[in-house]
């Protein structure tokens, strides 16, 4: 067949057709035109979508080869994301079917799954809207963006009122907020006693604006929140919270609380005056009935004190003769008081409890956060507290699992002993869990103790599971609720999702810094999409350079402030690396020449290594960018594979060898690649069929046959069942923290479900990003086996054991393969 004449015109037509096709697909899916009720339906849809995806890839390739000006990724940002995510979820479900076997799949399950997919897709749309909206909020000076967002929002119709008119309203809202913020600043500066006139002039205006915002903007945000219709909204709290905070401006001034109080007083000046009087204050000390209006003016701790004071007053009332008495426990002590106050006392106690709980919460937040006035930071820290709590529970869970495994192993041992004993007189038999077992009479007592122990541990495990939604295995998913939770958790694991929450936070934090507004907008743009920023024609090179430089410094500051939140730090590190790479690769059109004014020797401080590492890190970023320039691999994959986005802060952690080794690892890979492909140029030129670094490294390592060189090492693949050598050390890793956890039971076979590299990056068997088994083979080819660890899971219980060095394991067989 003659190859058809492909030119830019045909290409553009193809793109438009495909774009329409994806839109139509989306419409069919979301409007319920595409019904999926049986496995056959499901497979049909999967085929159809995969066909569209291949078409997408073909056109994409074409654009690269032909060097067409249209950047498909930008042009297609919405459609491509929709398509890829859709395919991603379909594939997850498809794998689930394969794993479960056709017998286990009934039509009801299929229907439910389809519903879940649709929910997820809808959910993603809302998320995208929020993200875009976030940018819009901060980048409102850009007319182009405004237009783009208007069309974007018009397109999106996900139950939100995103019509053109409403968009215009939002635009007005921004003006409103600006005015409000300025006014708020002004008011906070005014000393109301000395400058009463000015104060009187501004406060009503402020009041009016505040009401406008409360009545117009906040309800709209509430609509967004209620439209985030997927069960667990936790993940979006940060995102939505960030926008809400920005809009409501509740934290735009430290004086907000006092201003509010003043405003309240403004509305009721007579009361305000009275409240300030001495008599009034004295009267409050004798209250036996809460003055709710007075209470509103108090801070949280004073409110608590006030209720306690009222309660104190009530229990101090002298009882009249024959008066009915009621009793109350306060702080563990019983008090009696006139029964006529009973209703009030009970109500006050409820109020008191609520207030104390609020205060407790606030104290925890305060303690966990050195910069307590920054609400966003508080949010971060409280998240980390929750994470710590989760971690403790998770560790306890893992411990119990281990203990359970040990007990079960001991029980099996006793059973085997009993089963193989020929003299049946010395054996006791019974049915346990539907199976006939025999144990020696002399072992019976021990067996019973073990059995009871196992029972109680199991109960605890189930309790933790139900309370914390631990479902280690998809097959354990029974109820609809559990399934939704499970898929939601899966969804949350997608790096992109996590990143957007951090992105929102970083943007929020940047907007808290005391820097000019236009720079805030610039930094937000860079953070949001570095690549687009670099290629944007809107900014000059010098602006770009300055923006990248300054943002790097800002990120350093943010990182320092949030050093306890590992994930946030990781996100910042990743962003920094992106900045550095972009900086190093920024094309400079005009020649920049600088005169050397002075050359001097550096002082004697030992920073040679810092210089080398710093420069190398930038060059590694550069190398990464070179590799990316052939567009065969996206940024996310590259960093996950090579850096795991953790280039630790050089100033603070330079002494750790891990920095050097991480960089070396990547450097080695690039150099290895160079050796394999001497013709490979570090260039942006789009070469046809240039394989990516990763695939090349993979092939190279696969070709090496170094397995036999290391004594005792066997070939290990994902899902293999392996035993541990005696004295093996098992490491439980939780993020960057690593501790030697325990010596695992060497008599129990474990299943390999992941690989951790020397550089800290780890690949899960479930990962869709890589061919997991070949990555595992790559590990086997490493010369130092102890430097590569595999993640082990007890295949019977699904419990996570930890990581062990490859040199510690003895492969048993490949039974587990192809789960």
């Amino acid at each position: 067949m003659e190859p058809r004449q492909y030119n830019e015109k045909v290409y553009n037509k193809d793109v438009a057709l495909l774009r329409n096709k994806i839109r139509a697909l989306e419409e069919d899916i979301l409007n319920g035109k595409m019904q999926v009720e049986t496995l056959a339906d499901f497979n049909r849809v999967l085929e159809e979508v995969i066909a569209i995806e291949s078409e997408f890839s073909l056109i994409y390739e074409e654009s690269l080869h032909q060097n067409y000006t249209l950047d498909l990724n930008t042009y297609f940002s919405y459609e491509s994301r929709f398509l890829h995510e859709f395919v991603y979820f379909l594939k997850i479900f498809d794998n689930y079917h394969k794993a479960a076997g056709e017998l286990l799949i009934d039509d009801a399950t299929i229907k439910q799954e389809w519903k879940d997919i649709i929910t997820i897709i809808r959910f993603n749309k809302t998320e995208m809207l929020l993200e875009k909206w976030g940018v819009f909020l901060y980048d409102k000076d850009c007319e182009n963006e405004k237009e783009y967002l208007a069309s974007f929002m018009k397109d999106l119709q996900v139950g939100l009122d995103v019509s053109e008119d409403n968009f215009q309203n939002k635009w007005q809202d921004m003006v409103l907020i600006e005015a409000f913020k300025k006014l708020d600043d002004e008011i906070s500066k005014i000393d109301k006693v000395r400058n009463g006139d000015e104060y009187d002039r501004l406060v009503p205006l402020y009041n009016e604006l505040n009401k406008e915002i409360d009545s117009k903007l906040l309800p709209r945000l509430k609509i967004i929140i209620s439209n985030t219709n997927f069960g667990n909204k936790e993940r979006y709290k940060g995102n939505i919270g960030a926008i809400c905070q920005q809009i409501s401006q509740k934290n735009c001034s430290a004086t907000m609380e006092s201003v509010n109080r003043i405003l309240d007083a403004e509305e009721n000046p007579a009361y305000y005056q009275r409240m300030r009087s001495k008599e009034f204050q004295e009267q409050r000390k004798k209250d036996v009935i809460l003055d709710r209006n007075f209470m509103k003016q108090l801070t949280l701790s004073s409110q608590i004190k006030y209720i306690r004071l009222v309660l104190q007053n009530i229990i101090s009332i002298e009882l009249e003769d024959e008066e009915e008495v009621a009793h109350v426990f306060i702080d563990g002590k019983e008090y009696s008081y006139p029964k006529r106050y009973q209703y009030r006392v009970e109500n006050y106690l409820v109020d008191l409890k609520q207030l104390e709980r609020r205060q407790e919460k606030a104290t925890i937040l305060e303690e966990s956060n050195s910069v307590s006035e920054e609400k966003a930071t508080i949010l971060e820290k409280s998240n980390s507290i929750l994470e710590e709590k989760d971690q403790i529970i998770a560790e306890r869970y893992a411990e119990l699992q281990l203990e359970m495994d040990k007990i079960i192993a001991s029980m099996r041992f006793l059973e085997e002993k009993g089963n193989s004993y020929l003299n049946k007189d010395k054996v006791v038999s019974g049915i346990v869990n539907g199976e006939k077992i025999s144990v020696l009479k002399k072992d019976y007592e021990e067996y019973q103790t073990l059995f009871q122990k196992a029972k109680s541990i199991k109960a605890t495990l189930i309790e933790i599971e139900t309370k914390n939604h631990y479902y280690e295995d998809e097959k354990d998913l029974g109820s609809e609720k559990k399934q939704i939770e499970f898929w939601h958790r899966r969804k949350c694991e997608i790096q992109k999702g996590k990143k957007s929450a951090f992105l929102a936070n970083a943007i929020l934090l940047i907007n808290r810094l005391n820097i000019p507004k236009k720079f805030q907008a610039l930094y937000t743009t860079i953070l949001y999409d570095t690549e687009s920023f670099i290629s944007s024609k809107k900014y000059t090179n010098s602006t770009k350079r300055k923006g990248l430089n300054n943002l790097c410094s800002l990120l350093n500051r943010l990182q320092d402030k949030n050093y306890r939140n590992e994930k946030f730090v990781e996100f910042v590190e990743n962003s920094k690396l992106k900045m550095l790479s972009s900086l190093a690769m920024m094309p400079v059109k005009e020649t920049e020449t600088f005169v050397i004014r002075k050359v001097k020797k550096s002082s004697s401080k030992p920073w040679k290594k810092v210089v080398v590492v710093s420069a190398l890190s930038s060059l590694i970023g550069l190398g990464a960018l070179f590799a990316l320039s052939n567009k065969k691999m996206d940024v996310k994959n590259f960093f996950v594979a090579n850096q795991h986005s953790t280039l630790p802060s050089l100033e603070t952690r330079i002494e750790e060898n891990v920095v050097a080794s991480k960089m070396e690892m990547l450097a080695d890979k690039i150099i290895q690649y160079q050796k394999e492909h001497p013709d490979w140029e570090m260039t942006f030129e789009k070469e046809q069929n240039t394989p990516s670094i990763m695939s090349s490294v993979r092939t190279t390592v696969e070709q090496q046959e170094t397995l036999d060189k290391v004594e005792g090492a066997e070939k290990v693949n994902m899902y293999d069942l392996v035993y541990l050598k005696p004295d093996s050390r098992v490491f439980a890793t939780r993020g960057a923290m690593e501790s030697e956890a325990c010596s695992a039971d060497i008599t129990v076979p474990y299943q390999v479900t992941g690989v951790q590299y020397q550089n800290g990056a780890w690949i899960s068997a479930e990962s869709k990003e890589y061919d997991a088994s070949s990555m595992c083979r790559a590990c086997n080819a490493q010369e130092n086996y102890s430097q590569v660890r595999v993640r082990l899971v007890n295949p019977t219980t699904g419990a996570y054991i930890g990581f062990v060095g490859l040199d510690s394991i003895v492969a048993q067989n490949e039974l587990g393969k192809g789960r």
Binding site: V595, I596, R597, K598, V599, S614, E664
Partner: protein, 102 residues
């Protein structure tokens, strides 16, 4: 002007006033000298976000540096620097393990 050596601090004048850079590395390539510069602050702490590859030139009889703008040239030089840094890193690691560092 003193000859430039590795880790020297250069005061460089540009549009935005004087800035100090350290010479993180230098190479001779195609009859030119290239420097890998990293900005430093007054206390000689590295400002790692500002790094550049420059060529030593003479401008109006004064010694100056010129930012490498040609993409191909830059990539070629970057690759050379990359190897150099990598070697230096190896060397430092060796020094550390043998305890010969001063």
């Amino acid at each position: 002007m003193n000859p430039i050596e590795l880790y020297d601090i250069l005061t460089i004048g540009g549009k935005d006033g004087d800035k100090e850079y350290t010479v993180a590395n230098m190479i001779e390539h195609n009859h030119a000298t290239y420097l890998y510069l990293i900005e430093v602050d007054a206390d000689e702490n590295l400002i790692e976000s500002n790094q550049m590859i420059v060529r030593r030139v003479l401008k109006d009889g004064e010694e100056a540096v010129e930012v490498v703008t040609d993409e191909k040239e830059k990539q070629e030089v970057a690759r050379l620097f990359f190897r150099l840094f990598k070697d230096q890193m190896d060397e430092m690691n060796k020094e550390e393990t043998t305890g010969t560092e001063n």
